[in-house]
Symmetry: C2
Subunit: 190 residues, 2 copies
């Protein structure tokens, strides 16, 4: 998506450790009209797939999910990140390793919020090694729901999480895929 | 707001410890069209106030903030909850005590995301003792920004955080105010 690539080039910052900082428009600060454009694009790409619910993980996946849901007319649910699975009520859990933060956590979701009848779209702002998405897949599977695909704002193509999923037959739609990234250069996959 | 009161009565659950669980539509699962209605109502109440930015705190304030921002056409920024203020770059921080979880944390926001020219609307899903809002006030003040008011989905009137702010002259608009709450009864302030 050309507009997202341009925004990354004009406002993104590459930090040491392969970190791309886009907090000024996509994460901690959210450019609302721009985020709605990303949501509209996601809705358009999955309009024929009968999605019944969007599943994401707190916190930075929530705004993009909501933006997509505005155009899809479906509810969103987000998994919480918990140090333990110590939550009341019947819950679904999945262990996730965070590459960025170098720790492990448990993704937790009340079992009531997904059902075997759901057709789930997984949404997240970033896709790198795919650990978070794999955790969301596990939650959907635990509920017996079908995952119709994944919608991502920015995929770091060089970290292979997206391609690993595609090789398994998963539909992964990333609005921008970064092929390579350095302190003074950034190229996109076309 | 009548529609929110009805939704609380039909889908909310009162749990021990004065906890009102509305995760099925307002928090962990989000009823997107309904959330947009709440956002539209907030935008309407603050349409004359020249709001330039919405400030909230992760994670459950993000969706409501985004819904309001859709109708106000402004960016949102959210403070992150950190055990420490150990974040790179120049940041604004404020200590917050969580009544619900019984712990203390630090609200952290990159200093670049608020300026002295901003007219800030604080948004959150819940207002009880007001600890989170007071932390957001402190962040706005640290940036020299003006807070034009607070917009809340559900205020627990009996926990006094909202009235304490109103006594100080702060404009607090809550879409539903719970006057009293028990396992088999729930009354709203009218």
């Amino acid at each position: 998506m050309e507009a997202l690539e341009q925004k990354i080039l004009s406002e993104g910052q590459v930090l040491p450790g392969n970190i791309l900082k886009v907090g000024s428009f996509l994460n901690q600060q959210i450019d609302t009209p721009f985020m709605l454009e990303l949501g509209k694009e996601i809705a358009n790409r999955f309009k024929a797939d009968g999605v019944t619910k969007i599943l994401t993980i707190e916190a930075s996946g929530i705004a993009l999910s909501f933006a997509a849901a505005v155009y899809m007319g479906v509810p969103i649910v987000f998994a919480k990140k918990s140090e333990s699975a110590n939550v009341s009520g019947r819950v679904l859990t999945a262990p996730i390793h965070s590459y960025t933060h170098g720790n492990d956590y448990t993704a937790v979701l009340p079992a009531d919020y997904l059902s075997a009848n759901d057709r789930i779209l997984l949404v997240d702002d970033f896709l790198a090694t795919g650990e978070a998405l794999n955790g969301l897949f596990a939650l959907a599977k635990a509920a017996g729901a079908e995952v119709v695909g994944c919608a991502i704002a920015i995929e770091k193509g060089f970290q292979n999480g997206g391609d690993d999923l595609r090789k398994k037959g998963v539909r992964v739609e990333s609005l921008a895929i970064i092929e390579s990234m350095g302190s003074d250069s950034l190229t996109f996959r076309r």
